[in-house]
């Protein structure tokens, strides 16, 4: 299974990014869609630790940054999701033990990723990014991510565990 791991992970990244702009764009709440790539990164970080979570966050974030119809400066989601992956990895011992801790981890990761994306947009003076707009979007994104966590994160964690059943020591 270890040999398959990078391929399956790549497919999962492609799938989450595509669903985010495709299917879920039609199920959006005020234009906000659940950040499936973030949920994948959080699940991976809980199972495999902060280092893996950070790197997967970077890769998945770059995919979100570059996949059409994304526009604007690339690297912003990459930074946000890498930090989210690192944070979720730090909280993994708690998140593994209780579902509630997992929800809190997702909430914090969502807040961090979306804030980092918005703040870098403000710094780079990207059109459409304003503090008011960000404050409107952040809570909706957070609640939507948390709401869909029970459907996505356990499944993603199961896949991650199946791919590499050896317990991670670190």
């Amino acid at each position: 299974m270890r040999v398959l791991r990078p391929f399956v992970t790549a497919v999962l990244v492609l799938l989450t990014v595509t669903l985010q702009v495709g299917l879920f764009a039609r199920l959006s709440i005020a234009g906000v869609v659940p950040d499936l790539a973030l949920l994948l990164v959080v699940a991976a970080a809980i199972v495999r630790g902060p280092a893996y979570g950070t790197v997967l966050g970077l890769v998945a974030g770059l995919a979100v940054d570059l996949a059409p119809p994304a526009d604007g400066v690339a690297g912003r989601w990459a930074l946000g999701l890498a930090l989210a992956g690192w944070l979720a990895g730090q909280a993994r011992s708690d998140a593994k033990q209780s579902a509630f801790a997992t929800l809190i981890t997702v909430a914090v990761a969502s807040l961090v990723a979306t804030s980092v994306y918005a703040l870098t947009g403000l710094v780079l003076a990207e059109p459409g990014v304003s503090v008011a707009e960000a404050l409107e979007v952040l809570p909706v994104a957070l609640l939507y991510d948390v709401a869909i966590t029970p459907l996505v994160v356990p499944l993603a964690m199961l896949i991650m565990r199946t791919l590499d059943p050896t317990p991670v020591r670190w």
Partner: protein
């Protein structure tokens, strides 16, 4: 202690490297503009994700069509009570009409635009929509360079102006919607022929509006006036004469003595489906071609 130290060193390396990579990509992309070294990566990603988005859309379209009909119904219901009767009629219509028939009507409306203006259109569907978290109002459509679509072409639907093509891959294109906060469109008032610029407010839903500033500081737009595109040189990025929206409110700002107006776009940007990319400018239009505006 050994494994623990290994772990934290491992994690720190991953974190530092990831942050550096992300910040480097950001810096290169922000500094490079359209010739940024990230552009080839973006083009490559579009070639990979484009077909996947097309395929995913084909799979989920029957489901999402039903869902979007449901959402539409819910929104209609939440409208004010005065529209209740109309709602009922529409709901009945939505329930009885087949999705295919709606599609046909959309094609007819689009064909109407072509017939009326002489524009050559490439039809396409919206297959992906950028999320509100991204703060940019962009969509992916199912036509690309293979269909004759290229950057800086006008995109319309049966109701009017949708936006312009930002970038293309072989089978998909990314469209910047007129309501995007970075979108600037040259417009002309139908009643007074005054010229002005329309800027999006970045909102996609029912409060998606454009702000009109007229070139002539003394001109005052009238409420209800229709605005059409002014038209750029060579019809790129915007061809002339496409209806954009109607003036909703006129605001006079005492400070700089300029007049601006809020314009409601004709196109419902949150429910885009069938669109057309204008690949050929009007051939049989009387009069000289308009030119000069962005």
């Amino acid at each position: 202690m050994g494994p623990d130290r290994d772990q934290s060193r491992h994690t720190r390396t991953a974190l530092v490297v990831s942050v550096l990579v992300a910040v480097t990509v950001m810096t290169l992309d922000a500094a490079g503009g359209s010739s940024s070294p990230v552009e080839p990566l973006r083009a490559g990603a579009a070639e990979v994700f484009g077909p996947i988005e097309l395929g995913a859309d084909a799979v989920v379209r029957p489901v999402t069509s039903a869902v979007s009909l449901l959402t539409e119904m819910r929104e209609l219901r939440s409208d004010n009570a005065a529209l209740a009767d109309e709602n009922a009629a529409m709901r009945a219509e939505l329930a009885t009409e087949r999705v295919d028939r709606n599609r046909l009507a959309e094609y007819d409306a689009l064909a109407g635009v072509t017939d009326g203006t002489g524009f050559e259109l490439v039809p396409a569907r919206v297959v992906a929509v950028g999320p509100a978290q991204a703060f940019a109002r962009t969509v992916t459509i199912s036509a690309g360079t293979a269909d004759g679509v290229r950057a800086d072409l006008t995109v319309v639907n049966g109701a009017g102006l949708v936006g312009r093509v930002l970038s293309t891959s072989r089978h998909t294109a990314t469209v910047l919607l007129a309501v995007d906060a970075g979108s600037v469109i040259g417009g002309r008032l139908d009643r007074s022929m005054e010229l002005g610029f329309l800027r999006g407010n970045g909102s996609l839903g029912a409060d998606g509006r454009l702000t009109l500033n007229l070139v002539d500081p003394d001109a005052v737009p009238g409420e209800g006036d229709t605005i059409v595109t002014w038209g750029s040189r060579g019809g790129s990025p915007y061809v002339a004469g496409v209806p954009v929206g109607s003036v909703q409110v006129v605001q006079a700002s005492a400070g700089d003595q300029s007049v601006s107006a809020t314009v409601e776009p004709f196109v419902d940007m949150s429910a885009l489906d069938l669109v057309g990319v204008v690949t050929g400018a009007a051939k049989a239009r009387p009069g000289p071609a308009a030119g000069g505006a962005p």
